[in-house]
Symmetry: C3
Subunit: 670 residues, 3 copies
């Protein structure tokens, strides 16, 4: 991991949001600044979609308005996360450089009128973006309001791949750099199959629309290439910014579990991870999803602080049906980010737009103005957060690691597989089971070192279809030394080129798991089967069934259907000083809760507090302090028992044996 | 409204259909003419798809066959609604002018082989169509059979927008004419958002496929432009026809609530509104839908008579599953058109085709010939209608107006809104509730004058998301003077440019309604909530919920769910001498029936007759006469009580205190 | 039917599979050959996707590896079904000849990366394929392992039509050859409708994306043309092969009921029919579907033996969810092919691939190697089949014929019809009803001769929407002479040009059936109606209802719904010495089982054995032998009573009055 820039000037909890003054007459700006102070705002993200305003015609720049707003914000004590403004090119770019527009796999050009209408491989885009970044950086390098750089915006959000001729050429060059010879590519892609052998780099295409399934390794390399190519755009900006403002941290905003971009690689190129999170209030599991992505965000730079860069104060506008956060839910969910390592809570956006495609997106200042429930909740939160500044020097510590990486995600969800239900969504039940137990998790990539693994008491691998060379031995080392590991179905199947590991599945983990699998099969859509544990509890599973042969492992649960004749479904193998569990089906959350309770007990993993259902508890510590977050994710009042008397950092109140929380209530205990 | 041509020659109920003699050998024509007489046919629509027959090669015209059929029809006393034949260009047009083909937003060209394969912006199409119209008009200007002109056919039915380069250029020109300066366009479109600011007209595109939501005002202007551009095609034909045959009325056939074309504007350019209506017999609400569209058709030229230009005698063939009209249902539904102001009942088509894409479409003469149930019902209807000629000088008079216009429809259903369920379909429950009460409605556009509004006792505004400048004051004037108004949810939100009216929703109607709304939210798909009225009745609502603050209004109904704490759902405000109701959710038809019963009572709106459920009653009057239509929309016998003895215009029978109707039966009482 | 090549060298049951040695290092080949011997493999299909390996650069050929593997196989006594390798062009073809790529109706080009990426109309493809075929044929003409030629692979599987300019031109030429004059085409296509009259061949297009329904006859001719054009590719290869190796039989692999290709025409051009069949183990009716397609395969060359060319030993990988065949099910389903006339049972593929889009497809040698359930079952089957070689000189004899052809399938499923549910899927309930009765069927095309028909006691016509000239008289002749016939709804509607047969449906069969239909109608989606038989049994029907007038027929079943007033639903007419039944709705399988039981009884059709439900029994006989196949398609044990003692050809055991079969068990009795 590249070293992080000094962040010591960010020694407070960031609070604010995206600010788009260019959408409003300047006469409103002073009111904005004054309202921000009222709301406790200490930072705004500025100029994210301002390219057309900054460069209204190619090569003609206008920074006057931005100077004025920067000065105004500074005068009000508000720091700026200043954007490089490269996320949405002005319409003139498409006119002057028609080839800069992106193209779908069907050959359909995507036109201006929305945003992000650039092909990531376009030379015109790169040249023009680089010039803009340099202009912005040079102009504001010394501005006292500048606190960090906001690079582009949600890279890849709408256009994460582009099939233009430029894209085709870039793909060929990337392949040539990777494989060097045609033979190596032909071997890696398995082109002996279906008469696909290439004689020359120029014969290769991206996975365009084709008669049927495109070569899987070609598809996989295309995903790797596309993530790399977009990352190269960010690196281009980072280099410029670091040259001109070496000490200003750079950040781009992530989108949680966003499939197209390998955030493990991305996070290494910036100084601070940030996330845009829009949980759906209609989803009763939304808060568990948020917890999971926050744990990922914290893990991407191995426990360093991160930012919640965007959330909505109210509803969003891009779902089919957009529900409001209920009263207090915005506050609760803001604390949830802090509870899992965030050092800031920011919003999209400051003031609700009058026009455009996001005018119905919630904002800190709604259409109805400041005399609103939403603004009052914002101001309350802003005022509370000032009491938590010491948090910034703490972080979360986890005893459990979950293995997750993008290469596997991409490979797992390729077509022509045994079941389309065997996808990354199977991660969620594992996480939810650990969440029920009150256990905070870190994420690690599958190529994690043995040293890093040893920091954890339990390692959970919900799926590792694509298992690279060397991963098996590291996992064995970890378990042999006393670690505990749980591996989910359809793991250890193929290598980095997506070639099957032959000789009985899961070949790289057979010794570790003490099993051999000859066959697996998909269950029908919605088809449930019965799972019976060794203590005769009965659960349901679906999606998948392995035919497991025991080679030393013992059975933790077996299939309940008569036709499967009590075949093993979940097994455990003692390996060295530790043990490894294999889950040869997709158990439901209840079954996984049973399994992971047992594994946590074996591994000595304990929750920080015995909280009632629906109450989320995490701990941040460091710098001699310890904060316990208690978050009531239910609409009802709850009582949480404390092992010792604690003080609430928000209210200053002392709690003796118990703390009582209203529905959606929060306590931060010290 | 432009003045109507003299229609005094159409002083009888029109009865007939589309006639396509070119599909048959001439030897069959005499049989056709004779069967038409047998069926009581007095008018046919001719030559609608005859361009290729009239101009088999570019510039070579052949009118001989049309001369012969015109003469034959005249000799049999049958009038002709003669088409300009421009609806489907011959295949040679695509060959000679490939750019004349339409193009989708994905850039896909639509090819010949079906019909309507022309881009509305194609110069070639316009030039060739204009020449054809002139040729036809000149040739038949003096023909005694000619009764009116049938312009094109179902404009926009399959191709209502086209993204060719010609379309792009035309759009830019239309925008330039509308906005004059780039600044005005940039302001109207809100291009400060997402870096969309334009520097030159040539940078603008239609809303092609794009990375994400296209600018809403750009989309809205594109819809306005597309309706205008197709209307320009009709106006081009009208000008030619009026030049050559100044006294012959012109008509084009509409398709009811057809979203792409703003029929308020269209109706002003023709002499007579006509409608093609194909209710689905499998839809138990089909007759309510027909009533609603017939009320719209009558309203488009403010109560002037209109024609039912097309319906099927039996089944259609273009749905996935095409049910037959039941015995007597064709007759019943024909009278329904007359009952709501039509002066004619016509069919597609005369004789069922042997070949082509409509060979399974019902016809007056089916494949099985004249010895069929269908032909017998046609002949019976033709014979009956002769008794109703005095109807042509009467019309319907309504006490209730429904506000409806296309600009709002287009804007309401744009993407990036709070809920995709908040659409024009929410009109139906309001109409259905009034229909249950036996109340006939007019439609008016939202830009209706205060004078016009004062003609109504009650004005219902199911939705007016897009509320133009000046509408609020007119509504206030109407209510202040004693009118009653009901306004549905998500009204008064944006102005003509689709910019939000700030300051609490619905800003233009806040004073009128005595409320303020800070927030609204979408309910989940299929999610029902409870509505409790002030007389403690309980109903269901869905889709939407406003958080209403009372500023003078009283509560007619409140939300029943505990979490909403009895929040107001329907409110009423006394304003001047009248009152205004706001409906802050989407109540089901039962709830709206409850509400509109109360509002009709308050406004003094009464049904013409107290009819049992499923019996539709309307009144046409004028020229000293009054006809009461009693339509039994059920399959069962019904008895309808009369206030006074009346005579049945069809049977001549006198009815004392009651009239009995068989299932699907009809009475026209005087 | 063209004469069949001599097949006397294939005097044993073929057993083997697709073999792709080019995917593996040569060091593995000897193990392959040895394992094949172990498994009883006597034939493999070779080089199906080897074009890129055989011609790595245009015009440079490399046969060395193929020589070696041919020799190796020969040395192990394994015959070769050698492919012409034209199914998947190498990537260089798309580079050197970009126009050779196929194009969709939307104009989207399909790129390399998968397989079959050639436009069937491409001159480049044809030229290059022809050269390759000649090279392969010349090189291996005398090779002792060569047993037959495998032409291309699953023609049309992914690309069955292509809308390139070359395709457009070829279509025009095909039309010109068919119609000779524009007038004839205009008449056949009914172009008087919708102004579609053509003045020149160059005005005609394939049915590209269009504004609405494309002319039905144009669509139908396009399907005929596309089948012909792809067949021309096969004929091109056949001609080359017959020139070079006149005595080697040629075969291409079919895909059962594959809509794009008219296999009646195709089967005449090859020496042996073969089928690739992949029943879905999750479908409880899968075995009935297999029986039906096997009966079709046997019928395509009028009872001559055929091959099961491909099936999977385990699961496939191209469905969304791919279930495994249960233990013994692969064996059972292999015998099912033999039971219905196959002389061979082969698999895709020999050894499971490590890479590529089919790596999860089941194989005879799985990823886990030979110590697997799958390989053991393969080897058991291979060993058993050696005992059945005398089968090759027998075939099945059927008393029942089902009329089925592609022209009707294409026409029936065109758009703009009364109901999308009226499709070829309605064949299945008729077949299933006969299957329940243990009756084996032949298939015949609708243009079957009267002589051929007379071989059958009962002829079933599930649907014959498109009824060509002359078919009515042949059917009348058959019934008049004492035959029995059942005709399903929506038959006798249109002629070969898809023009309606006028005068009351079904005009060509009205005299035969003694009925007249004025109207038909679609029922709603999922709408069931009641059917009451003349013996007062009650069944369900759906999809369709004819309004039948009796003109001599009697009623076998009537509609049960009150609104239909007991209208006739199924009728029977005595015609000469026989009788003809009309089914004016879509009865469910129970109702058809009732009907066909009665018709079998009347016609004297009896099952070979009275077997319990779920047990399939067929008979193959010839050359003085008779084999009775008894297949237990259930998971439970069953007892089957025998009329006489019989010997099991597999076990050699004698069975007296009864044979007992385990779940999925098989007996072949003599």
């Amino acid at each position: 991991m590249k070293p992080q820039r000094d962040l010591s000037h960010l020694n407070f909890i960031l609070f604010g949001g995206d600010y788009n003054p260019e959408q409003w007459p300047e006469s409103i700006w002073p009111e904005d600044a004054q309202l921000m102070q009222e709301a406790g705002v200490n930072m705004v993200s500025l100029a994210i979609f301002s390219w057309a305003k900054l460069e209204p015609r190619e090569g003609e720049f206008d920074f006057g308005w931005l100077d004025r707003i920067m000065n105004l914000l500074h005068a009000h004590g508000i720091k700026v996360d200043l954007a490089t403004a490269t996320a949405a090119p002005p319409p003139w770019m498409a006119k002057n450089y028609p080839d800069s527009l992106p193209m779908t796999k069907d050959g359909v050009t995507l036109y201006p009128g929305a945003r992000q209408q650039y092909c990531p491989h376009s030379v015109a885009y790169k040249t023009l973006a680089a010039r803009l970044v340099a202009k912005v950086a040079e102009r504001y390098a010394q501005h006292p309001a500048l606190a960090m750089w906001h690079i582009n915006n949600e890279y890849g959000c709408h256009v994460s791949e582009s099939f233009t001729p430029a894209g085709t050429n870039a793909f060929r060059a990337w392949l040539q750099a990777k494989y060097e010879t045609m033979d190596r590519l032909n071997h890696a892609w398995g082109t002996a199959f279906w008469s696909q052998q290439y004689g020359d780099w120029s014969e290769i295409h991206p996975p365009r629309s084709a008669p049927t399934f495109v070569n899987p390794t070609q598809q996989l390399d295309w995903k790797r290439f596309s993530s790399d190519a977009i990352l190269a755009l960010m690196k281009m900006e980072v280099e410029i910014l670091r040259r001109i403002t070496p000490s200003v941290p750079v950040v781009t905003n992530f989108m949680g579990f966003f499939k197209p971009l390998d955030y493990w690689a991305w996070a290494q190129e910036e100084d601070l991870v940030s996330d845009d999170n829009y949980p759906d209030p209609l989803d009763p599991q939304a808060h568990i999803g948020s917890a999971m992505r926050y744990d990922l965000m914290r893990s991407l730079r191995y426990g360093q602080p991160w930012l919640l860069m965007e959330q909505t104060p109210a509803a969003v506008n891009w779902r089919n049906r957009n529900a409001m956060k209920k009263p207090d839910q915005m506050r609760l969910w803001s604390y949830q980010a802090l509870a899992r390592g965030a050092n800031g809570v920011m919003f999209f956006q400051w003031r609700a737009a009058k026009a455009g495609a996001e005018k119905f997106h919630g904002a800190m200042v709604p259409h109805a103005g400041k005399d609103t429930r939403v603004f009052r909740e914002i101001a309350q939160l802003g005022s509370e957060l000032k009491r938590l500044d010491p948090l910034v020097r703490t972080t979360n510590h986890a005893d459990v690691a979950i293995v997750f990486d993008w290469d596997n995600w991409w490979a797992l969800e390729l077509d022509s597989h045994p079941s389309i239900d065997m996808s990354a969504r199977n991660l969620m039940p594992y996480y939810a089971a650990l969440y029920q137990h009150g256990v905070t998790c870190d994420f690690v990539p599958s190529t994690v070192s043995a040293d890093k693994l040893r920091e954890y008491k339990l390692v959970v691998v919900p799926n590792l279809y694509l298992t690279k060379d060397g991963v098996g031995p590291v996992f064995e080392q970890y378990v042999a030394a006393g670690g505990h590991m749980v591996i989910g179905a359809f793991s250890g199947i193929s290598n980095a080129d997506d070639h099957i590991w032959l000789g009985g599945y899961p070949a790289p983990f057979r010794a570790l798991l003490g099993i051999r699998i000859e066959e697996f099969e998909a269950l029908g859509a919605g088809q449930k089967q019965q799972l019976i544990t060794d203590d005769e509890e009965s659960f349901a599973c679906d999606t998948w069934r392995d035919a497991i042969q025991l080679e030393g492992a013992r059975v933790l649960a077996r299939m309940g259907e008569e036709e499967h004749a009590e075949a093993p479904a979940i097994t455990q193998n003692t390996f060295g000083k530790g043990s490894a569990v294999y889950v040869g089906t997709c158990p439901d959350t209840q079954a996984l809760t049973w399994l992971l309770a047992r594994m946590c007990a074996e591994a000595g993993v304990v929750a920080p507090l015995a909280a009632p259902p629906g109450v989320e508890v995490t701990v941040r510590s460091g710098d001699g302090r310890r904060f316990v977050f208690v978050l009531n994710q239910t609409a009802q009042n709850v009582e949480v028992k404390l092992a010792e008397p604690m003080r609430d950092a928000l209210t200053g109140l002392e709690h003796a044996g118990v703390v009582t929380l209203a529905g959606y209530g929060v306590a931060v205990l010290m």
